[in-house]
């Protein structure tokens, strides 16, 4: 295909590079554009061939209609769905950062008998995708359906997060901690006062990967939630789009509201997103 150096790049080639990238970026952005434009248009003009892209008759009516129609006990409340998703993401991310980093520290820096066996177990459990435990979990916790805590609890401890922290902690030179230990700091103090502040990149990338996964979480809520009062936002999106007769403008407005929080996080913490994903490949 093409070289990866910038050494022999003529102005013509540079122009071609930009042209190819622009066309591809445009194609990639089309569905996103459609989402945003469509959410602002009257519903009968959304599904209307190519003119669905045209920014005509723009208004925020669809947004107010979504908020108005999801505003009673029987349908559930939009802001409640949103709040539940935010709460679950908050609990899973902060809880996960806490327990998984702590475990990784205990498994990488403190020496104890059985440590290697436990770490091997973590590595093995990393191979088990959530999908392969969803059915037995659904059976085991069937009497806990429609409770909030069961939506969060299974995702706090995460073998892959432990692994990511473990990899990072091992790259820190031990001399720093040894110095602290000589000064009399115990392992807890060493961890929280010295190791955690030094590991911001690891915390950021684990937090972002966890948030991303949790925000879109769908399979587990499908199994565990039937009551609108504990329904997270992506599941409600599925319910909302399936209602008859369909209202496409409102569906897209709902979609914008669903993606906005994660899009905002993405815009501001883009670097960490990309690094977090890239670091997940260190595995190999």
């Amino acid at each position: 295909m093409s070289s990866t150096t910038g050494l022999t790049r003529t102005p013509l080639r540079r122009f071609l590079d930009y042209a190819v990238l622009s066309v591809l970026a445009f194609v990639f952005a089309l569905p996103v554009l459609y989402l945003f434009v469509g959410s602002l248009k009257p519903s009968d003009e959304v599904l209307d061939g190519l003119s669905g892209f045209l920014p005509t008759h723009l208004s925020l009516d669809n947004y107010t209609a979504v908020l108005d129609s999801l505003n009673s006990d029987s349908t559930g409340y939009f802001w409640r769905f949103m709040g539940i998703s935010l709460l679950l993401a908050f609990v899973v991310v902060t809880g996960g950062l806490f327990v998984n980093s702590m475990a990784a520290y205990g498994l990488s820096r403190l020496k104890w008998r059985g440590r290697n066996a436990v770490f091997t177990l973590v590595l093995l459990l990393m191979l088990v995708p959530f999908e392969s435990v969803a059915v037995p979990l659904f059976y085991l916790f069937n009497d806990q359906r429609n409770t909030l805590y069961i939506l969060a609890l299974p995702f706090i401890a995460n073998a892959f997060s432990v692994y990511q922290f473990h990899t990072f902690f091992r790259s820190i030179p031990p001399s720093i901690e040894e110095a602290a230990r000589i000064d009399g700091a115990g392992p807890w103090r060493t961890f929280f006062a010295i190791v955690v502040p030094m590991s911001k990149p690891a915390f950021a990338s684990v937090a972002i990967l966890t948030f991303l996964t949790q925000w879109g979480s769908f399979l587990w809520p499908v199994l565990m939630v039937s009551d609108p009062s504990v329904r997270p936002l992506p599941l409600e999106m599925s319910v909302f789009q399936a209602q008859l007769p369909p209202d496409y403008g409102q569906t897209l407005a709902f979609g914008v509201l669903l993606v906005l929080p994660v899009l905002i996080v993405f815009v501001f913490f883009q670097r960490w997103f990309v690094q977090g994903v890239a670091s997940s490949a260190v595995k190999g």
Binding site: L137, G186, V277
Partner: protein
């Protein structure tokens, strides 16, 4: 008293490590005891316990339980006690004329999905990564564009594409095809027609996921030393030869990882299929996946035993893929 000198010398101590306050002689009383004064084992165990307990409770035990349940005839809400079934659930899944149909179809669908998505998505991700791996202005902006769909929840991706692929001439894609073919094409029912339903799922899944693989491959590409390309250019290697002899060997490990990741993800497909069957008129038979089958079996039919057997088969496929990847990687590490 601040932490000792080596800390400041260390490259990682960009921000000064917070001071460790007054040295309090720890455990002065216990010293007399013969117990090892290093109590790291206790702290290590305590620190690991919450996460490890969570993993055992929510991964290890349920997984073992899935295997056990798959040997029983157990139904949710049934007044009858579960009965031991041996391998009957597996026999039914694979050979029972009434029950094996949907399951085998699901396996076939997943396989089709994987066979198309793994090479296409990997190649596309590699192409994008190569395009982005150059010193151009605004390269970060382009990277964001390709990566953006990754942050979209799959339920939303399904809904957007449901409108793009809508049947009749109202759908965006049909309308576009109609325009470029002077009215000869168009008016296809992309999601509902068994011939195009899986292709539709494949396209929207690649759109959503390719940025993820692209970023991983880009990180791999950036680790190839630039001197290798300079040397290749001195040797008058063409662009294809550079790709073949510098780029590909340089990212082999990353590429294998990406292929494995994509194939495992291909077998986990669920959200988009569920959403589109639920409200988008998606052809169920042509797109049901193994996970979709497991969920409907457990949830709609309350047949936990059979759903567990499907889960176990799913897990075996994932493990097999992982083992194959290990096989492929190993010879690379030795040379």
């Amino acid at each position: 008293m601040t932490s000792a000198e080596p800390a400041h010398a260390a490259p990682h101590a960009r921000e000064k490590a917070p001071p460790v306050t007054a040295v309090k002689p720890e455990r002065p009383v216990r010293q007399a005891r013969t117990v090892c004064k290093n109590r790291d084992w206790l702290h290590g165990l305590l620190m690991s316990t919450p996460a490890v307990a969570g993993l055992i409770a929510f991964v290890a035990i349920p997984f073992g339980y899935a295997v056990v349940l798959s040997f029983y005839n157990v139904r949710l809400g049934s007044p009858l006690a579960p009965t031991f079934f041996g391998l009957e659930q597996y026999r039914r899944l694979f050979t029972d004329p009434d029950l094996s149909g949907p399951f085998l179809r699901a396996l076939l669908n997943n396989l089709t999905f994987a066979v198309v998505v793994v090479p296409v998505q990997t190649a596309l991700a590699l192409g994008l990564a190569i395009l982005l791996n150059r010193k151009l202005k605004a390269i970060g902006l382009f990277r964001s564009f390709f990566f953006m769909p990754v942050v979209f929840p799959m339920a939303l991706v399904a809904v957007i594409w449901r409108l793009i692929l809508a049947r009749g001439d109202q759908g965006m894609l049909n309308s576009a095809l109609h325009a470029v073919s002077f009215g000869n094409w168009g008016a296809l029912d992309w999601l509902g027609d068994s011939a195009t339903a899986m292709a539709s799922i494949i396209v929207l899944s690649i759109w959503q996921g390719v940025g993820f693989q692209m970023v991983i491959l880009l990180a791999g590409l950036q680790q190839i030393p630039g001197e290798l390309y300079e040397a290749a250019e001195l040797d008058r290697a063409g662009r294809w030869q550079q790709f073949r002899h510098v780029t590909l060997p340089g990212i082999r490990g990353t590429l294998v990882f990406v292929v494995l990741l994509t194939s495992v993800l291909s077998f986990r497909v669920f959200d988009q299929v569920y959403v589109l069957i639920d409200g988008g008129g998606l052809n169920e038979d042509a797109t049901r996946t193994v996970m979709y089958q497991a969920v409907t079996t457990a949830f709609d039919q309350n047949n936990i035993g059979q759903a567990s057997a499907i889960t176990v088969v799913f897990f075996l496929i994932v493990v097999a893929l992982t083992l194959i990847q290990r096989r492929v990687v190993r010879p690379d590490n030795e040379d």
